[in-house]
């Protein structure tokens, strides 16, 4: 965190540089079932972040030495498109992507019913098409919807959301300038039904009270994002049901 700067991130009215209140999320749009080839997929726009998630599996894990005879393994790959950031990013995983992929894989472990699919792999691909602070949380949110769209049995969805501290104020969902010039960031992944925290990172400088306030904000916001996820899945199922209905009708027409 924290390049120093003279940028004022909170104005005299307590509003943020993009006009949001401290506990206000950026606009979020979620769409399920956006790709043909993948077993499940989702697209999330979160502020200026544009994220695609796709799921393949459960399928046979390969190479074979990765297989676990008691459960499916979860392999997440978080990747940024070369054009997704200001300076072109070289293709392929960098150290940051490797770490994020690891902790996102771990975040989904306790939610997915992996024990149903021994020797299998459930592969989750998160592609950041445009990045604007908060991509790992948006990616988790998208990946959860893609997993549900793929029909992977889960105890619940997972919501990714961050809070942090800018200009000595605790705020929800840091934007790009806040991320660059702020004082702390606390990304989390939350299982909405149980309130379990399955991903938690923090960097910056916070007192205990500030940290807990930030986590409170994220716990609250997770409920709202959870509704958006479920809504996207409901719309997706409606489309599928309609397609199936039309298919049955066309078959019936053929029979007549």
């Amino acid at each position: 965190m924290g390049m120093k700067s003279d940028i004022k991130l909170i104005d005299e009215n307590g509003l943020r540089i993009d006009g949001r209140k401290p506990d206000e999320l950026r606009p979020i749009k979620i769409e399920a079932g956006v790709l043909k080839r993948a077993d499940g997929s989702a697209y999330v726009e979160w502020g200026k972040n544009k994220i695609l998630a796709a799921v393949y599996g459960p399928r046979e894990a390969h190479p074979r030495h990765l297989q676990d005879s008691t459960k499916a393994i979860i392999q997440c790959r978080y990747n940024m498109a070369p054009f997704s950031v200001s300076d072109r990013k070289r293709p392929g995983p960098d150290r940051r992507s490797v770490e994020i992929s690891k902790i996102i894989s771990e975040a989904f472990e306790s939610v997915i019913m992996t024990e149903l699919f021994p020797r299998s792999s459930i592969d989750v691909f998160i592609e950041v098409l445009q990045a604007n602070a908060g991509t790992r949380c948006a990616g988790i949110t998208a990946a959860a919807v893609a997993l549900a769209d793929a029909g992977v049995p889960m105890k619940d969805l997972v919501v990714g959301v961050a809070a942090g501290k800018v200009d000595d104020t605790v705020v929800l969902d840091l934007g790009k300038e806040e991320d660059n010039y702020g004082q702390a960031d606390v990304p989390m992944a939350i299982v909405p039904r149980t309130g379990d925290i399955v991903l938690l990172q923090m960097d910056g400088d916070m007192t205990e009270e500030e940290l807990f306030k930030a986590m409170d904000m994220s716990m609250e916001a997770a409920k709202y994002i959870y509704e958006l996820q479920k809504d996207a899945l409901r719309r997706r199922y409606a489309v599928i049901a309609q397609e199936e209905k039309e298919e049955i009708e066309s078959i019936e027409e053929g029979i007549e």
């Binding site: 790709l35 043909k36 399928r59 070369p82 592969d123 592609e127």
Partner: protein, 264 residues
């Protein structure tokens, strides 16, 4: 049933349909799938375009920065094309460094852009031998449903045609649209037994014997070609495909130009 038997049954089915002048998705033999082109999808890039060719989905982004020219071309900008067959797009794509398929794709698209002179690289020179625009065209394959070549070529040209040169960022005056000199178009044909089809879908590509891609420019000249897959073409088949590529290229070029204008 082995993969092989399945693939033979699929081939027979596809071929039988073709002999009736139809395709398994209902198209005519020389008909493209629906082409959908959206420019400006990535605001943080200097140019971008997302092309859907049926369900094949390719996102191209153009990034520009300032660098040094190559010593042997001191008055030319630098243009690099790169394609990533990310594992999101297909169960057969694997993470890792570019394999032969993505290298071939990026090199063939690059050849068409370069030989087809979409951009005059000398337009990208700022100070000869010292400072030139360095341009990356990145093709991100999101969904693979056949014929990546044509979709990628369209995406690359549309992305370039929607590119704003970020001059102001380097205190070189106002940003301005990248000058486009030509609109080369790649058209890809597949041969299934003795029948030639345009724009093969995924299943057609799987069973095809041979593939030929032809890049034509707005004057109807041939600018690049690439044969693929394990079979061959007769000379007459090549001639027929070259002739068709000019006609079909014209159709695609119109769609491309309209889309870019529409996106402005």
């Amino acid at each position: 049933m082995s993969q092989d038997v399945v693939s033979q049954i699929l081939k027979d089915y596809i071929y039988k349909t073709l002999t009736e002048k139809k395709r398994i998705d209902g198209r005519g033999l020389l008909e493209y799938r629906k082409i959908d082109i959206q420019t400006g999808f990535i605001e943080v890039a200097e140019g971008s375009a997302r092309v859907k060719l049926g369900n094949t989905d390719v996102l191209a982004g153009v990034k520009m920065s300032i660098g040094e020219p190559f010593p042997d071309t001191p008055e030319s900008g630098v243009m690099t094309t790169n394609a990533e067959l990310i594992p999101m797009a297909s169960p057969t794509f694997e993470a890792g460094p570019p394999d032969e398929n993505s290298i071939e794709l990026s090199r063939v698209v690059d050849r068409g852009l370069r030989e087809g002179q979409v951009v005059d690289l000398s337009d990208l020179c700022i100070e000869p031998g010292e400072k030139v625009w360095v341009m990356f065209i990145d093709l991100h394959i999101l969904d693979y449903d056949g014929n990546l070549f044509d979709a990628s070529a369209m995406a690359a040209v549309a992305a370039l045609a929607s590119t704003k040169v970020p001059a102001s960022q380097y205190e070189l005056g106002d940003d301005y649209p990248l000058p486009i000199k030509n609109w080369p178009v790649m058209t890809t044909f597949a041969k299934i037994k003795d029948i030639i089809v345009l724009d093969p879908g995924l299943d057609e590509e799987r069973v095809a014997d041979a593939r030929l891609s032809v890049y034509t420019d707005q004057d109807g000249h041939i600018r690049a070609m690439q044969k693929g897959l394990n079979g061959g073409f007769s000379y007459d088949e090549v001639k027929e495909i070259v002739r068709l590529s000019k006609e079909k290229g014209k159709e695609v070029r119109k769609i491309l130009m309209d889309a870019v204008k529409g996106g402005e």
